[in-house]
Amino acid sequence: MANMNIIGAVNSALDLALGADEDVFVFGEDVGKFGGVFRATDGLQDKYGEGRVFDTPLSEAGIIGTAIGMAIYGLKPVPEIQFSDFIFPAFDQIVNEMAKFRYRSGGQYTCPITIRTPYGGGIRGGHYHSQSPEAYFAHTAGLKVVIPSDPYTTKGLLLASIDDPDPVIFLEPKRVYRASKGEVPEGHYTLPLGKCTIDREGTDVTIVAYGALLHEARKAADLLAENDVSAEIVDVRTLVPLDEETILESVRKTGRVVICHEAARTCGFGGELAAVISEKALLHLEAPILRVTGYDTPFPYTLEQQYLPDAFKIFEACETTVDF
């Protein structure tokens, strides 16, 4: 085991993947010599050479289009989009091409691509360095959407994503890139895609969260515990494919749910989770499902701490549902 942060976990996973399979390639803006603006690819070009780890021109559609071509040839690209806010110039390539190649070729051509991209707010990045675009991709059939929350899940889920036969949007919670630290196996391991986990057991209310908000959910659960409320936390990890059963089982136990994400509320992934719960566990609910989310606005700069869902907002929502 080694103690590392999320950046270290990404780096370690990419290192192992590049080392194990010569068909794995890492590329994007500033990922080569510089090692990425967040330093996630630090040292990889030195180790594997410019043929395997390289800088691209400033063109997201170019990065993803190239990745698609490499993938249908049979390679395993792991491109980086510098911030998820800048993924949209490649949206057409992702939604109309990457997501549909398998379907439209009857399985002849596939896109085993993992797009890594930092997402989420809390770094004073304003509109364009803070967004949470997961719902756009979860809404597109053919894409898997994976969001780790700490070094251990980052490394295991990233290696699983690279191994996966389908395209994965791998959203890295950049706010906790360095703040989240933990013990991580040094060698290769994977965590299954399509599995939620119970991050903490409890009996009174289920908090469903992912990414950086998992840490806020834990703080909220601590505050709730001081107030004699026992919260269970579900870490979603994989939005698509969704492990409904783990979530439903928790809801059947607690009867109360608070769903959290940083993305704006309207058509956020929380809406999907709420729908699944009400379709499949309605009679177990003792209170309305509540959401703690970003607001229906662009992401602000000065007031970002007020904008962001945090432990206190989760705490308040849990109290509301428990007192219902």
Binding site: E29, D30, K33, F34, G35, V37, E50, D55, P57, L58, S59, E60, A61, G62, D85, F86, F88, P89, R124, G125, G126, H127, Y128, H129, L223, R265, T266, Y295, D296, T297, P298, P300, Y301, T302, L303, E304, Q305, Q306, Y307, D310, F312, K313, F315, E316
Partner: protein
């Protein structure tokens, strides 16, 4: 790996001693000697020199304040003042300026006050955009300066729309659109240049080739001989100007603006320069480039060039330069002191200006935020602030 780029052979960038001589337009040589015919008179040059010096002082001061944690972020234009002010000064006040990311000085040049600019940097309650954007993204409607997005190249096709609207309305206005060398790799660069050419729009494209896109040198960005050479494919004039030569940039931009106004269509101007500082305050260039080259580029500092020219002509002196700097610096500090303590915008500012009117959902969300703030205050829960 060797790179097939004739202009930037070994290092993928152009050090000052290798600057091309043939296709690089100059009016002043690096020593400040006239090698061409300036368009500007002495008074105008003195004024633009003052504007450039002021911009440098603002940038220096803001970089210091950022290091002290008094503003969150800053992106400077250090070394690119001649490109920004040489081109902006070629326009009429009602011509459009569509900035990329280092041209806020052009807005100040048009009359946006230091106070307004600093309020935006602070994102305080006096900021017109209510602290919604990162620093260095000022709005400038009254000055026909379009508020920038951080997304590279998105502004390029938008410039076509401004120019087309003006053409349809026959208003005689020109649109000047800025971009970096990195922006030329995005699809929107092609889209914008193509549309403007096909529709013969009154646009002046200014590409500030500072030879870096964060850590990526221009030779890895493009295999073209130059950014100006790209114009050929669209069938418009492409000119490469010494971007550190105020008089050359002004002259070529003025000619392009005149062409545009006369209905002769767009021009692509490349201002060849060097990013003397870090990409932004989040960046550390020592990690990826040889800063010895940067040191040598400092000798081509555009401010030094105009100063030497003015002094040699007997129009200016080191003493006057110092006195002017002191005066400008004092003004910058005084205005900063006035605005630094202005409080943050109210919570409602998060929800306003998304739509012309707040939606019922937004109203509900705003109320829930207010409620949560009161609830957590009552419980003695203290939120961390930046």
């Amino acid at each position: 790996m060797s790179h097939p780029n004739p202009t930037y052979p070994a290092q993928d960038v152009c050090p000052p001693e290798d600057l091309p001589t043939e296709d690089l337009i100059r009016v002043l040589d690096p020593q400040g000697n006239l090698v061409g015919e300036p368009l500007l008179d002495d008074e105008a040059i003195l004024e633009l020199h003052r504007v450039m010096v002021r911009q440098r002082l603002i940038d220096d001061r803001m970089l210091t304040l950022q290091r002290q944690g008094r503003i969150g972020f800053y992106g400077a234009c250090v070394g690119q003042e001649a490109a920004v002010f040489g081109s902006a000064s070629a326009l009429e006040p009602t011509d459009w300026i569509v900035p990329a990311l280092r041209e806020a000085g052009a807005l100040l040049y048009r009359g946006f006050t230091l106070r307004e600019y600093f309020n935006q940097l602070l994102g305080n309650n006096a900021d017109i955009t209510k602290g919604r954007q990162m620093p260095c993204h000022p709005p400038g409607h009254d000055y026909h300066y379009v508020t920038m997005s951080s997304v590279i190249a998105n502004q390029i096709p938008q410039a076509c729309g401004l120019a087309l609207a003006g053409k349809l309305k026959q208003d005689g206005r020109v649109t000047m659109c800025f971009m970096g060398d990195g922006a030329t790799s995005e699809g929107d660069f092609h889209t914008g240049l193509n549309v403007a050419t096909v529709q013969k729009l009154p646009v002046v494209w200014i590409c500030q080739n500072n030879q870096w896109s964060i850590s990526t040198p221009v030779g890895r960005q493009s295999a073209a001989r130059s950014m100006a050479a790209k114009a050929k494919g669209y069938g418009i004039p492409g000119l490469r100007v010494d971007g550190n030569d105020l008089l050359a940039v002004h002259k070529i931009a003025s000619e392009a603006a005149a062409r545009a106004r006369a209905g002769e269509g767009p021009t692509l101007i490349e201002c060849l320069t060097w990013r003397l500082g870090a990409h932004t305050t989040s960046d550390d260039p020592t990690r990826y480039r040889d800063e010895d080259v940067t040191k040598r580029w400092w000798e081509l500092d555009p401010l030094g060039r105009t100063r030497r020219y003015l002094i040699a002509k007997g129009l200016w002196s080191d003493e006057q330069e110092q006195a002017q700097q002191d005066e400008l610096d004092a003004e910058i500090r005084a205005v900063w002191t006035e605005v630094e303590e202005i409080p943050a915008p109210p919570l409602k500012a998060i929800f306003e200006d998304v739509y012309a009117e707040m939606t019922p959902q937004q109203t509900e969300q705003w109320e829930s935020l207010e409620r949560n703030m009161k609830w957590s205050d009552a419980k003695g829960l203290v939120r961390k602030q930046h």
